[in-house]
């Protein structure tokens, strides 16, 4: 059968009609999807937002609470002409803003249709109440209460993190969990504990009548769902101590971390400069200001900055040496203003020589640790320096260095500890020896440790050989922490070796001025602080000032690591700051004798020394 063109065209017409009708058949009869959606459309789901869980500190103080603010919503189609001046006065906004918004609604009116949009966000209750009194004059506008975060203490901005409205990307990453207009924790504890804190949204169902007015509750509210408030969370943070730590670190770049050694609970974690809690509550307004700040306040140095540890790392080498049997408390090594090898030398300051292990810690002798490290690496029991290096690497890792500790804090970084493979790659296999890596002896070179690592080292020594993974969420009835935070992590060094090192740390602090002890400035009568200073080289300006300490000597309550960028000697800034924190925690106040030191620390401004990024 040969068809003429007219018939073919008519067949085409028929095919198109069949296609259209088939499609109609699918969406009107087969597919349920559109029917479900359409019941959603004539039933109005009015969301009830849950209140977010409260974040407490370890003593039950509220670190993050909630307060009520109002969003002003507008349904442009219902807006009638109104007195702009009165409107603006009540809301304290500019007439230009209103005009701009209204023009925008008019321009997109066909797109907007009957949708309700947000006109103003986060009005304080006083302001909204003023408007509510006269709101009858402004049809189309209504307020919606919303709870936002409130911060009674100025403590822990970086730790707590902020809550903000979810954006399209976030919704895409968490399908079915969030919808546009929801809020979610974006950083810090707010982000890490989002699932606990957020609670469950509820809804009221209303029915629209035939003129789009909400008329009745659907089945008298039988199908409504109550919002479930979020769980409260207790942190291990001590709000007062955190606040004090932030004051001490003000106008300095660096970090201050305090851990309770007997539990691994983080008492204080300061990253300076940090984010003020005032900014957290209204992150939207301050976000660009914060992200433009050259000192990067969003960057949490305490867990993200890999620093060279400096001389505090001598403690680790001393412990490894003791365990390996290459050094004993009585071992004497000479120091003639440094360690000389060939034409080179690794310099040291003037102190007595020769000296034993305790004295080497107390006076922080560089040469002593060059001998110790070489004895560890070149130990004949290993086949060569590469094997010695790997043994050393394993020891160091057992202290938690060079890896993420596994804390519950988000975005923790692992730092770096080199091994033989690393140097083989860097020089060539067999192309390096113990002298090549001699800076490791004094905590320089390729090492990268976060302040959290250093605080953890200090807690490990305080515990005589083990640590609990540092964590920031405290076990409570509302929230059970993971069992991994209750496990002791032993180092590869036997417990019996730790007291020998602790003696040195005790003498470094408590020997008095003129004794050669490097940390006399940290001495507090009666607290038996044991500490170790460090002065880490910083290629960008002055050395970094480092100090770790714990107290008291027996049954330690607190272990602290202080790291002040470009602060110079460890004894200059880090030691006073750390010791003041310890004194505040254990005594509750600073003794009169140390008040001048406290004033100096609180008021010092070292920002000029730090190169901006």
């Amino acid at each position: 059968m040969i068809l003429d063109r007219k018939t073919k065209l008519l067949f085409g017409l028929g095919a198109v009609a069949v296609t259209l009708i088939a499609r109609l058949f699918v969406i009107q009869i087969i597919d349920d999807k559109y029917k479900i959606d359409s019941s959603n459309n004539s039933m109005v789901y009015s969301t009830i937002y849950p209140t977010r869980g409260i974040i407490h500190d370890r003593n039950g103080n509220i670190l993050v609470g909630n307060k009520v603010v109002y969003d002003l919503l507008v349904t442009p189609k219902e807006v009638k002409a109104f007195d702009t001046l009165e409107f603006c006065t009540a809301l304290a906004i500019e007439p230009e803003f209103v005009k701009e918004k209204m023009d925008e609604y008019r321009r997109f009116r066909s797109r907007i249709g009957w949708q309700t949009l947000t006109f103003l966000k986060q009005l304080p209750p006083e302001r909204y109440m003023k408007f509510a009194e006269i709101s009858y004059k402004f049809p189309g506008f209504r307020g919606q209460a919303r709870s936002v975060r409130e911060y009674p203490y100025n403590a822990g901005g970086n730790l707590l993190g902020y809550v903000s409205e979810v954006d399209a990307d976030f919704i895409k990453k968490h399908p079915d969990e969030y919808r546009s207009g929801d809020y979610a924790g974006k950083t810090g504890i707010e982000a890490a504990m989002e699932k606990e804190l957020r609670g469950e949204k509820g809804y009221n169902i209303y029915l629209r009548n035939s003129s789009n007015r909400i008329e009745t509750r659907f089945r008298d509210g039988e199908m409504d769902k109550e919002a479930v408030p979020g769980n409260d969370i207790t942190t291990t943070i001590d709000a007062e101590l955190q606040h004090y730590g932030q004051m001490l670190m003000a106008n300095k770049v660096g970090s201050l971390v305090a851990i309770e050694p007997s539990t691994g609970e983080i008492l204080t974690m300061v990253s300076s400069p940090g984010i003020d809690v005032e900014m957290l509550a209204d992150i939207g307004t301050h976000y660009s200001e914060i992200s433009r700040n050259p000192y990067k306040p969003m960057f949490n140095r305490a867990v993200q900055a890999p620093y060279p540890p400096g001389s505090v790392f001598k403690l680790v080498n001393a412990l490894i040496g003791l365990q390996e049997g290459v050094v004993y408390p009585g071992t004497l090594h000479p120091c003639s203003k440094g360690y000389h090898f060939g034409k080179n030398k690794l310099g040291c300051h003037v102190h007595k020589s020769p000296l034993n292990l305790e004295e080497s810690i107390m006076m922080s002798c560089n040469a002593y640790y060059c001998y110790v490290l070489r004895d560890i690496l070149d130990n004949p029991k290993y086949g060569g320096v590469a094997e010695g290096m790997d043994a050393w690497h394993d020891y160091v890792q057992s202290f938690g260095f060079g890896q993420k500790l596994g804390s519950d804090f988000p975005s923790e970084l692992g730092g770096f500890v080199p091994d033989a493979k690393y140097y083989d790659k860097r020089y060539r296999k067999g192309g390096w020896k113990s002298l090549t890596v001699i800076s490791l002896s004094i905590g320089q070179g390729e090492l990268g440790c976060t302040p959290l690592h250093l605080a953890n080292l200090c807690a490990t020594i305080a515990n005589r050989g083990f640590y609990y993974i540092p964590h920031i969420i405290k076990d409570s009835d509302n929230y059970k922490i993971d069992n991994k935070y209750r496990e002791k992590h032993y180092t590869a060094v036997d417990t019996c070796h730790f007291p020998k090192v602790i003696n040195g740390m005790y003498r470094a602090v408590n020997s008095g001025y003129g004794s050669g002890g490097t940390a006399s400035v940290a001495e507090v009568k009666g607290l038996e602080i044991c500490g170790k200073t460090g002065t880490a080289q910083n290629p960008r300006g002055d050395d970094n000032s480092v100090f770790i300490c714990f107290a008291p000597r027996e049954n330690p309550q607190i272990a602290v690591a202080a790291y002040v960028e470009n602060g110079g000697f460890g004894a200059a800034w880090a030691a006073p700051i750390a010791s003041l924190l310890v004194e505040k925690y254990l005594n509750g106040e600073i003794s009169d004798k140390r008040k001048p030191l406290e004033d100096k620390m609180l008021n010092a401004d070292l920002m000029y020394k730090v190169k901006k990024n």
């Binding site: 059968m1 068809l3 063109r5 007219k6 073919k8 065209l9 008519l10 067949f11 085409g12 017409l13 028929g14 095919a15 198109v16 009609a17 296609t19 259209l20 009708i21 088939a22 499609r23 109609l24 058949f25 969406i27 009107q28 009869i29 087969i30 597919d31 999807k33 559109y34 029917k35 959606d37 359409s38 019941s39 459309n41 004539s42 189609k77 997109f108 066909s110 797109r111 907007i112 249709g113 009957w114 949708q115 546009s180 629209r208 035939s210 003129s211 789009n212």
Partner: protein, 490 residues
Amino acid sequence: MGLYDSRNNRRSFSQTIDWWLIACYFIITVIGIMNIYASVHSVDGGNIFDPSLRSGKQIIWLGISLVAATLILLAIPPRLYEGLSVPIYVLTILLLILVIFIGGDVKGSRSWISLGPVKFQPAEISKIATSLMLAKLMSQTDYKIGKYKDFLITAMIILVPMLTIILQKETGSALVYCGFIFMLYREGLSGWYIVAAGLAILIFILTLTTSSYFAIFGLYFLLIIYLGLKDGRWILLLSAGIPAAVLFGMLPWLFGIIGEKIDNPDSFFFLIKPIYFLLAMIAGVIPFIIQSAYRKRHFYSYIVAAGMVAGILFSFSTDFIFNNILQDHQRGRIEVLLGLKEDPSGVGYNVNQSMIAIGSGGAFGKGYLQGTQTTFGFVPEQSTDFIFCTIGEEWGFFGSAAVILLYVFLIWRIIHDAEESREAFTRIYGYCIASCIFMHLFINIGMTIGLMPVIGIPLPFVSYGGSALLSFSLMLFIFIALRKNEKKYF
């Protein structure tokens, strides 16, 4: 009585008018007015004749259109159109160009001219002018579309208004001019142009809006029809092809149902995809076509087999290129163009709301004025471009299918009349307007049910809009008048 009749053996006015077309016109415009009222009544109140409502205004415009129609049928000598087609065309083009510069800006397009209280779009008139011009040119006795020069002039006549309308940023209206290809085909243009272009567009859009499966299924469906048409093997077509097509059409749906019943996510079942069956089926059919082509030395069958394979490859490569090679922002633009992107306040919002409205109508609809979706203004452009939603929601599947069939009847009747006509001018003009109405119908309804990207053009005779209703009425009644004039003598 006509004023222009001079012969004695004339037929009466009522005998020469195609009453079917007139009846069809009235039914469709009344459906339009009813649904315009349905889409505005709940927000604005009032009754259907209230002249402050859109439905009332549309009634006034229907009145104006009927006055014009009466003039066309009774007062204007139909011979005039042929004589005046060139000046009308030239004037319209000038107006189209003028409007680019002086046109009022309505929703981003500069295509409106205000004459006192009345706004109108020259683009509406230009469809009539272009149709008349094409009819005039192509009805010349020495015209042959196969001739290079004639083809070029024809293409120019279509492309010039098309381009000026694109410059007015009314791309949707310009797309309607593509419909003239059907008229050209009727007048002798090789059909392979249509087939190739149509298939490429079909596969492209189907692949991106649904899936490769449906694109290939569409091809398969066409293949079956071809096989049926080729040798007139209707029995084969009806007994094997159609059931197979229905089966394959429902296969993904069946898979969905079975998939829900299976708890184990690692089940072997999920490794099987509906497309495997489809490809296997096609792989079975193609050798059969080639063998038959070889035996019968049937050249077209080779082309069809090759086209089938090319189409499958084209579909997969569209899918692959779109999802794997294009960058996000490039993909985004195409998605917006095709209305794929979930953009609640933009393009995607309209389509989604429109499909919800239509889908909620079910088989029989919610009843006139009982719709909840369309009457609450969820669907923007409710009484104009998205008027079909109201029909779909309130009149359901049977009602909206009936409306589509009514249009099919209208177009069929125009083609039928055009074919009966003894004058090439009338025939060509008839095909032109049939093509225009067809394009409007397909694009507009296709858009509301998510088959076509969102292209804002009205549904003829139904969408609210005075100048559109008037110009569609003029278009149709000129044809009725041309037919009447012929019938008088033959």
